[in-house]
């Protein structure tokens, strides 16, 4: 078997091909240096504090994809445009349905070998300080290759503001600020975050932040909220999300955080609790990023009880009980109530488990809610 690694090479010969098509390439030529600079200087994440992105944000975030205003699909030859939104950057750049975007600033997009390179990601990555990014486009009607400088409005859609906390309040230096852009169209969507950014608390409050919204639906309603957490414990938060009139322009939204600088001495520290459950129920310490995953679940609006149910119903815990119903329900009961079930209780547990058709998560959740 011959295996070929398909690497995305930026090959300047591509320019020769385009030149052969007698097309102007001024926008592409010489762009490399500025692209490299832009990658370094552009906001790498969604939140900036004091204008300087902290390492955690840089590591955890990528630029929010900028909306070209197209509906598209990935193909082996590029990104085929299905439709172009009226008034969009794509329309202003002359893109039409049927055209195919082959590369963005020389970087292939669409299916390349076995990978998909998203056009939105590449645009966000390579746009320069003037809001311009060169696209190589195959015209859907003539087949001609054209270099098109897509010009994004210099008018930013960013949400900027200041996070304020009670004066003199000092939170632990290990605390993390999270700012979220939420879809609040329906009440039950209150934790649906379109984007979010996290940063450590650096030098106390006030701090400035910035969120770059992704593509959004004009029919939906959006809001911003923020919280400060330490080890999963929410110390400060906005009392309610601040609703935004729209996401189509830059706006300033200051947020006021309230709460306590430290959890009460008796409060359960979520990360410690999660680690203890993993050790107790699974008989091992947490794996890399395992605690983070559960803390992220809390940020999605789940409760610590949900986390406990998740661990107690995990495949790994079930395997530890030899994938045996009776051993499993007995041990779950013992873990939740500290004593083994009586024969009558065991019978009830077996019946509940069977009613749940062996799906463990709802079984454990139901058991948690039941008074002992």
């Amino acid at each position: 078997m011959t295996s070929i690694t398909v690497r995305r090479l930026r090959f300047s010969g591509a320019r020769s091909l385009v030149s052969m098509s007698c097309l102007a390439l001024a926008c592409v030529a010489g762009a490399e240096r500025s692209v490299a600079q832009d990658v370094r200087t552009r906001d790498p994440g969604s939140v900036l504090v004091g204008g300087v992105p902290a390492p955690i944000a840089a590591a955890a975030q990528r630029p929010a994809p900028l909306p070209l205003g197209i509906m598209a699909r990935n193909t082996a030859t590029g990104v085929e445009i299905v439709s172009v939104n009226p008034g969009s950057v794509a329309q202003a750049s002359g893109l039409q349905a049927g055209d195919t975007i082959i590369n963005v600033a020389g970087y292939q997009v669409g299916m390349v070998g076995d990978r998909v390179y998203d056009v939105g990601d590449e645009v966000a990555r390579h746009i320069n300080a003037a809001g311009q990014v060169p696209l190589l486009v195959r015209n859907g009607r003539t087949g001609a290759l054209t270099a098109i400088p897509a010009q994004f409005g210099t008018a930013s859609r960013a949400i900027n503001g200041v996070l304020n906390a009670p004066q003199g309040l000092q939170v632990p230096p290990t605390s993390v600020i999270t700012v979220r852009l939420l879809d609040v169209t329906e009440p039950q969507w209150r934790d649906v975050a379109l984007t979010q950014g996290q940063l450590p608390v650096a030098r106390g409050f006030p701090v400035s932040y910035r969120l770059d919204p992704p593509a959004a639906s004009p029919q939906h309603r959006y809001a911003v909220d923020a919280r400060v957490e330490d080890a999963g414990h929410v110390l400060l938060q906005t009392t309610s999300p601040v609703t935004l009139a729209s996401l189509d322009r830059e706006q300033r939204v200051d947020l006021t955080l309230s709460g306590q600088a430290a959890p009460a001495p008796t409060a359960v520290v979520p990360s410690a609790q999660i680690q203890q459950w993993i050790q107790t129920y699974l008989g091992r310490p947490p794996r890399p990023y395992e605690t983070e995953v559960w803390l992220a679940d809390l940020q999605q609006g789940k409760s610590l009880a949900d986390v406990q149910a998740g661990i107690l119903s995990s495949s790994e815990y079930f395997e530890r009980q030899r994938s045996n119903r009776d051993l499993y329900v007995t041990d779950v009961f013992r873990q939740l109530y500290g004593v083994p079930p009586t024969p009558a209780q065991l019978g009830d547990l077996q019946a509940r488990y069977d009613r749940a058709q062996g799906v463990r998560l709802p079984f454990v959740q139901q058991l948690q809610q039941q008074p002992r």
């Binding site: 295996s3 090479l9 591509a14 990528r62 070998g113 639906s217 995990s314 790994e316 395997e319 030899r322």
Partner: protein
């Protein structure tokens, strides 16, 4: 470059040029990167060198901007049926999705991939949970019988790990796509124990003291997804008839390995810490494709088992609204967070985009 303009070259030419110039370009690029690119500004690799995987990196961090954005407020049911490997992920999906869409009830029926497939074929499930790819025979039968389009997307990966007795001196297992680990003499056809080059441990661990110790393979039952992958990793063949001791659970399997000096078994990564066994890395040639060729948009190594969701899409329209929203949830940050909660590997951005393409979803960009 060669991939970028495939239509400008015939397929054979493209293949030839990829074969010859692909590695050449890569080599030149590498030299330029190493040498600082002095004097050769014409050709250079723009992508940074492949990042060395950070063992402790959270793969979900790259998915923040692929948040689930509900499009509507659907009502109805979403019926899931299939492999128990995906049961817990499905339960998390159902729980998370129901919180956002309280008018949608999700039901889960788990047993085997076969059972899930049967439910999908019979219209009793909206999505089949599959821990192995849909076979060619199943696809052919579907094409004959169904008026709907079959779409099979990857929803998660499960890293599989080989385990042996702790006294076994073998440090790693070499694998090739053609001959697997046990190296059958002839390729193609059904692989039997007689055709294997490696039947005793000295052939794998190089220790003459182990010459008399046969390799005894322990696995899950025939028909399970883990077994499907084990057969292929062992021999590289799609059909194999080896004497394999079957176990009902991975815990049983690990215990059997702990008690068998010549044992060799395959378990999910989350179970490889079982006491009394030694886990072995699989040495995989660079660029080896995933075992399941149904995986598009993925450059995973073959020790990652893809786990699938199969759905039936009406040819004259899309999925029912609630199923469409459910699939969007699965292929989002939230859905992939759910996957990670059960120790499975979430998809990458590239993999998520590719699965959306399979579903025929135009992306808003």
């Amino acid at each position: 470059m060669l991939e970028r303009f495939p239509k400008l070259l015939g397929s054979r030419e493209t293949k030839y040029m990829k074969t010859v110039f692909g590695p050449l370009c890569a080599a030149v690029s590498w030299l330029l990167v190493v040498g600082g690119g002095i004097g050769f500004a014409q050709v250079h690799a723009v992508d940074p060198p492949a990042a060395v995987p950070v063992a402790n990196a959270n793969p979900l961090a790259d998915l923040f901007t692929l948040a689930y954005q509900p499009q509507d407020t659907p009502a109805g049911t979403v019926r899931l049926a299939g492999s128990s490997t995906l049961q817990q992920a499905a339960a998390h999906w159902a729980h998370g999705f129901h919180r956002l869409h309280p008018d949608v009830e999700c039901s889960i029926e788990t047993g085997s991939s076969e059972a899930g497939w049967k439910s999908l074929v019979e219209g009793k499930a909206d999505a089949a949970l599959m821990s192995r790819p849909v076979t060619d025979a199943e696809k052919a039968a579907w094409e004959k019988q169904s008026a709907k389009r079959l779409v099979v997307v990857v929803a998660a990966f499960d890293r599989l790990v080989w385990i042996v007795h702790p006294s076994n001196p073998v440090a790693e297992l070499s694998w090739s796509p053609e001959t697997g680990i046990l190296r059958p003499a002839a390729q193609g056809g059904v692989v039997t124990a007689d055709s294997l080059a490696a039947t005793h441990w000295d052939r794998l661990n190089g220790n003459a003291d182990w010459k008399g110790v046969p390799i005894r393979v322990h696995g899950r039952a025939l028909g399970s997804g883990t077994r499907w992958h084990m057969d292929r990793l062992l021999t590289g063949a799609t059909s194999c008839q080896l004497a394999i001791t079957e176990h009902k659970t991975e815990a049983e399997l690990a215990e059997a390995i702990a008690a068998d000096k010549g044992g060799l078994g395959l378990v999910g990564d989350e179970h490889a810490h079982w006491p009394g066994v030694k886990r072995l890395p699989l040495v995989i040639p660079a660029n080896a494709a995933p075992l399941a060729d149904a995986v598009v948009g993925s450059d995973r190594t073959p020790d990652c088992r893809p786990l699938f969701l199969a759905v039936a899409v009406p040819k004259d329209g899309g999925l029912p609204e609630q199923v469409q929203e459910f699939m969007a949830y699965v292929l989002s940050y939230s859905g992939q967070l759910d996957v990670a909660k059960d120790g499975l590997l979430p998809l990458t951005r590239s993999e998520i985009h590719a699965q959306k393409d399979l579903l025929g979803w135009s992306m808003a960009r």
